[in-house]
């Protein structure tokens, strides 16, 4: 164990364990989380230079515990409130735990994930808090990954912790009635973190790609804790199968390369093998949920030697299943593309018609982009060009706009 990379990895794994122990012992999630952050920062500065201590978790617990004690002492001085002290005194005595304390760390990580995805928080707050409290990332790292100023992110995290406390959230696993809903939120937050990193990997900012690795790490952990949840398995498989494209999804100038044109020799075969095995196995015993079905679709693409040799009827069938378990206009849009590959572009275009009347997709740039693609396949180049240009105006992504403008220019004839 040496070097800053190894230390960082060690710290991220220990972060939720240390936080879990402190919160179980003292309550006060907000104060404990701050204290753990400070301990992590101290370790990140000292360990690479001084070496990793013999009992790293005990070291972090001691430093974070001391920080909490200082905090409470200054609070006591400020308020001179004897009652509060009387209540808290026993807590000091319990600090400086035995270094080899065996903690139910697994449950703690789950509890923390559920707490960070509390329904009192909006999605951006859930994402930020999960990355910090469970992922062990610093506020500066989270801010950089979201291209936001550090004070903005710092406030967002503080507000999130206040909200959780105000909502009276407890450091316990949610009741069975709430559990499914909360687990759904956890999966969505992890997938959001993944996508923030994945979609950014074309840009000049490499800090954001770290989010992808972090999301996979946390989902892998969640899968280890909940091996019987088919959707967690599906989510992990989907992430692995998607991330496998990363080496091929951008060209030399950072431009986006569509799936059909990617050099499949550059796909990450190990990630594909793992993803395919996970989703195949899960589908044998779990009711198919949206993540498993999306992973199954990704697996069909991953196993095709080329876009033309893809098992498109199978993709169409899977989108049919996806539309049944998780209906959404975006699913219909993707299904239309697959149908066009089986039955021709006119069949795909016919499926787009109702989406133009759906207010969720009517003005969406992805609808225009798909229409452009299908019109181009159908040979109607002027209409394809107009659709691509409409899509280019609709996107808020620089990379997508460049790509769509290029497609418009090609459809217009100036290749």
């Amino acid at each position: 164990m040496s070097g800053p990379g190894a230390v960082e990895e060690l710290l991220r794994g220990l972060a939720p364990q240390v936080l879990g122990i402190l919160v179980r012992r003292h309550g006060q999630f907000h104060a404990c989380e701050d204290a753990v952050q400070e301990a992590l920062l101290a370790a990140a500065t000292r360990w690479p230079a001084e070496g990793v201590p013999e009992h790293p978790r005990g070291w972090l617990l001691t430093v974070a515990g001391r920080r909490l004690t200082d905090e409470w002492r200054s609070e006591r001085a400020r308020r001179e409130r004897e009652v509060a002290v009387a209540v808290r005194e026993p807590a000091y005595a319990a600090l400086a735990p035995p270094p080899d304390e065996v903690a139910p760390a697994d449950d703690d990580t789950l509890r923390l994930l559920f707490l960070c995805c509390h329904p009192a928080l909006n999605r951006p707050a859930q994402v930020a808090l999960t990355l910090r409290a469970v992922g062990g990332l610093s506020t500066a790292e989270i801010a950089r990954a979201h291209l936001l100023p550090e004070p903005t992110m710092s406030q967002r995290i503080r507000r999130a912790k206040q909200r959780i406390e105000a909502a009276g959230a407890r450091f316990t696993l949610p009741a069975p009635a709430e559990r499914d809903e909360r687990l759904r939120a956890v999966r969505q937050v992890l997938y959001l973190i993944f996508n923030e990193g994945y979609t950014a990997s074309s840009g000049p900012d490499l800090h954001r790609t770290e989010l992808t690795a972090e999301a996979i790490r946390l989902t892998r952990e969640l899968h280890r804790l909940l091996p019987d949840d088919g959707e967690v398995t599906g989510l992990l498989a989907l992430m692995l199968l998607t991330d496998a494209h990363r080496p091929a999804r951008t060209g030399p100038a950072g431009e986006l390369v569509p799936l059909a044109e990617q050099d499949r020799g550059r796909w990450d075969r190990a990630a594909i093998a793992e993803g395919v095995a996970l989703v195949t196995e899960a589908l044998t015993w779990s009711a198919p949920g949206p993540y498993q079905v999306q992973a199954a679709i990704a697996a069909v693409h991953a196993e095709a030697p080329s876009a033309a040799e893809t098992d498109w009827p199978q993709v169409v069938a899977l989108y049919g299943v996806l539309a049944a378990v998780a209906p959404s206009p975006i699913v219909d849009l993707n299904r239309a593309v697959a149908v066009a590959m089986v039955d021709g572009p006119e069949a795909g275009l016919a499926l787009l018609a109702p989406l133009a009347g759906d207010e969720r997709t009517a003005g969406h740039h992805r609808l225009a982009a798909v229409r452009g693609h299908l019109l181009e396949l159908a040979g109607d180049r002027p209409a394809a060009r107009a659709a691509y240009l409409a899509a280019a105006r609709g996107t808020t992504s620089v990379a997508e706009r460049r790509y769509l403008e290029l497609r418009a220019a090609r459809a217009g004839g100036d290749r």
Partner: protein, 122 residues
């Protein structure tokens, strides 16, 4: 998602206001900035000097020509902006709707999405 809120108002409108009205407006701006800071939505913002201090630069023949005064000859001028990072376009519009220039009919706010560097291959 980041949005820039562009504030357009009539230069010099403050001159016609009573002291109390001015204090109310500045107070309301302080209040909003405090709230956006506390919620972790505020990314940044700047107020611009009076349009009379503007210089406009454009190509004339083969060189840049610099003239005094703003580019647009309109009654309302661009007065400043704030950038927020928030959940939805609706939330960005809600922030704009609370801005005193809008509430008092002194100006308008444009809410424009900021382009991101990410993207999905299609």
């Amino acid at each position: 998602m980041k949005y820039m809120l562009l504030i357009w108002n009539r230069p010099g409108f403050v001159e016609a206001l009573t002291e109390q009205e001015r204090n109310e407006i500045f107070g309301a701006v302080d209040e909003i900035m405090k709230e956006l800071t506390a919620s972790g939505e505020l990314v940044g913002g700047q107020a611009l000097a009076d349009p009379s201090q503007t210089r406009t630069v454009r190509l004339a023949g083969d060189r840049a020509e610099i003239t005094d005064g703003p580019f647009l000859e309109s009654k309302e001028q661009f007065a400043g902006y704030l950038t927020v990072d928030c959940d939805s376009p609706e939330r960005a519009a809600e922030i704009a709707a609370g801005w005193p220039d809008v509430r008092r009919g002194l100006g308008v706010l444009e809410v424009r999405p900021v382009m991101g560097d990410g993207g999905t291959e299609m």
